[in-house]
């Protein structure tokens, strides 16, 4: 084997190889279909283009995917309440800031309250999963159902609008900054998370608990606490995402904010090559997954696919992506190739 081959082989066996290839393919496909897809111009003092849109729109998803990755890793289950929790966090924030011409309280405090609401929800999920030993999907089903209810309770069932312009900054642009704020928030969340995982043993703990909680207990880990922390963290992420969603439309629509986003978050985790049954994880993979999903949605919009048929295409692409990552499929192809070779050899001999 030459050096190049060795390098290629190493590259291909890297766990992020296939997720990246998939993202690249989605983007490439766009280049062919919508030549303007990669065009970035400066418009109105800010960067403007499909690519910026993809990054901007995927920010919430990236944040949620980060939280979801840890939850999946530590408990082998998914948190299906993140969408509802986002809505709740948004509602708390808007409600406490008020809908008048000026804020009821300092802006930062309103944001903190929103995020806190997210953390509280995450902690509740964590309590049910880690302490009460309820299956994650079922435990989070409770807030999945109740979360929007509580949010509506707070808003009185109405869509609340915030009238102070500075509220939009979180979801749009900071003054004199040419990139949308959500991108920076997403980057910050990712960097902080990675920093924590790299500088402490949390990553190792989470994996250990996710793979074998019994063994984790015997080596001195508090699996209850670790799982609890991941759920609370996921709640935090959901809270932050909720604030972005709210700020984008400077209003809280408890019914629709973050609707079905939990599915995309889980999908992002899986597309990033992570196993949904817990254990080893890669944050980078999940981020790639999240961007892939948004790139797909944005490009299908760009191709003017109607929204109600969009799921069909999404499904096909998702299946292709995960199938590409499946080692079983590779094995099958290998076997097929061998068979074909043998038969062709047989034919040669016969001839």
């Amino acid at each position: 084997m030459s050096k190049v081959q060795v390098f290629l082989k190493k590259l291909m066996s890297h766990r992020l190889f296939w997720p990246l290839v998939c993202l690249a393919v989605v983007l490439l496909f766009n280049l062919i279909k919508t030549p303007t897809f990669f065009k970035i111009t400066i418009n109105n003092g800010v960067f403007y283009g499909y690519l910026i849109d993809v990054l901007n729109r995927s920010s919430e998803l990236i944040i949620l995917a980060v939280g979801m990755t840890l939850v999946v890793a530590s408990s082998g289950g998914t948190d299906i309440s993140v969408g509802a929790v986002s809505a709740l966090a948004g509602a708390v924030c808007v409600f406490s800031l008020g809908t008048g011409e000026a804020y009821n309280m300092p802006y930062a405090m309103g944001l903190c309250l929103g995020v806190l609401a997210g953390v509280a929800c995450g902690a509740w999920n964590g309590f049910l999963v880690a302490k009460m030993k309820i299956q994650p999907m079922v435990a989070t089903l409770i807030l999945f159902t109740a979360g929007r209810g509580i949010a509506q309770l707070i808003t009185g069932g109405n869509i609340l609008y915030v009238k102070v312009p500075s509220f939009k900054r979180l979801g749009a642009f900071l003054p004199h900054v040419p990139l949308p704020t959500p991108i920076f928030i997403a980057i910050a969340v990712v960097l902080i998370t990675i920093f924590i995982l790299k500088k402490t043993a949390l990553g190792l703990y989470i994996q250990t608990v996710g793979i074998n909680a019994k063994a984790g207990k015997l080596v001195g880990l508090n699996s209850t606490l670790i799982q609890f922390v991941t759920y609370a963290f996921c709640g935090l992420c959901a809270g932050i995402a909720g604030l972005i969603i709210t700020s984008r439309i400077y209003s809280i629509d408890a019914n629709n904010a973050g609707l079905n986003i939990e599915l995309d978050a889980i999908l992002a985790v899986a597309l990033g090559g992570n196993s949904l049954s817990g254990g080893k994880f890669s944050i980078a993979g999940s981020i790639i997954g999240a961007i892939t999903i948004q790139a797909l949605t944005t490009s299908l919009y760009a191709m003017k696919v109607t929204a109600d048929q969009l799921p069909v295409y999404k499904a096909v692409v998702v299946i292709i992506i995960v199938a590409l990552q499946s080692p079983e499929l590779k094995k099958m192809f290998k076997a097929l190739k061998l068979k074909l070779n043998k038969t062709s050899e047989g034919e040669k001999v016969a001839a």
């Binding site: 402490t200 043993a201 250990t208 074998n212 063994a215 984790g216 207990k217 015997l218 001195g220 080893k280």
Partner: protein
Amino acid sequence: MNIKENKEVLTMKNINKNFPGVKALENVDFTLREGEIHALMGENGAGKSTLIKVLTGVEEFETGEIHMADKQGAIINKSPQEAQGNGISTVYQEVNLCPNLTVAENIFIGRAPRKHGHINWKTMNNRAKEMLKALNIEIDVTKALENYSVAIQQMVAIARAVDISAKVLILDEPTASLDEQEVKKLFKVMNQLKERGIGIIFVTHFLEQVYEVCDRITVLRNGTLVGEYKVEELPRVQLVAKMMGKDFDDLATIKKPSEENVQKMHQEILIEAKTLGCHGKIKPFDLKICKGEVIGLSGLLGSGRSELARTLYAAEKPDEGTLKVKEKDIHMTAPIHAMKKGMAFCPENRKDEGIIADLSVRENIIIALQAKKGLLKLISRKEQEQFADEYIKMLQIKTASQDTPIKQLSGGNQQKVIVARWLLTHPEFLILDEPTRGIDVGTKTEIQKLVVKLAEEGMSVMFISSEVEEMLRTCTRMAILRDGSKVGELEEHELSQENIMKAIAGGDQHE
């Protein structure tokens, strides 16, 4: 007998099997004859289990041929199901049963007795009961398997395999978690099957067992075939030499710590349990452990040895009594507390409680130390690698690299990693629950030596093993358990096979 022996039921030729980074099997030949018990021997990681997995279709092999007596041409088993269809019945190394099914079902699934096309539960339960009775096990077969200990599960797995009307029976380390009684019973069954003309492949690390039942021995080393021998032609010492590829300094070299040293250290009481107990696990017991001593726990299967150890380590929350470490009362509710007090615990059930399957060997080694140090004090990558290297060398762990997931190691090597994990925490009190289970002779001696050495350096060790000899060699004192309570202790001078047996059986009571 001779005629039988000559008829080959199974031949494997030039088998090659590679795992990423490891040549697991290289041109291995193997022949099994009708009505023989054929031992497959080798060090940990020699490729025994792999050979069996290749044979039964769990793993694919690259090249080679497998022939069976009554089949035309070479066969390839693509799945265990096919292997069973071809008359090969297997008990794999780790217990591989379904914990959620009942005991009876675990024995019969795939071939349950039927009535009018549907499963006849009554017949199935009755037959399961009988079959286990034949192995001296009397349990409620309608309960889920997970309610029973590893040993019982092992016996159930054996019962399952034995029942199939097979031509070849494969037993991969079935005796690792059994005690003598059960082993006897198993041998009886094996001999019966042999009489019926069934060929049996038997993997074990207990040399006595080989010489007790086997007719022939095939030795593997590092994935290559060393040779096939008749038992009579291969004395014990030579067998060991063949397995290890070098001469082997015998067990006799193990020396217990010198008497005076012991006396000196034993002044210092490290751990003192008073009426410590855990409801439903172990009845209240008193126990004193001194610095530098090796205390053994002896008892029958299910007598509560593991439970006692677990209670000391707070793996089971004690609900009565007190525990003093270095004369200070302490209250422990989780293993981490015990670890902080200098304890370490190597559990008996490697697969369920020991290994963290998907993590690398390195991570598996440092995890306990990391947990002890706490979340914030991350052991740097460099240190991790150093530690891992050190212990891989010290315990001669056979692994492609320290980044290999531990699940890819052979059973015995996994055990070594777990031991390494605990040694790395430099405990003052080390609990070893069946540490030598599934470990080859060479390493076993190493571990025993290690235990004695550690004790000499001042570490206290609790040693639990089903092998009495092993305990005799290492222990300075022994506690006897029966039916979930501690019934006595034997001091060093009282330690002998006979005394222990008597104590276990409940002959005369000691203090």
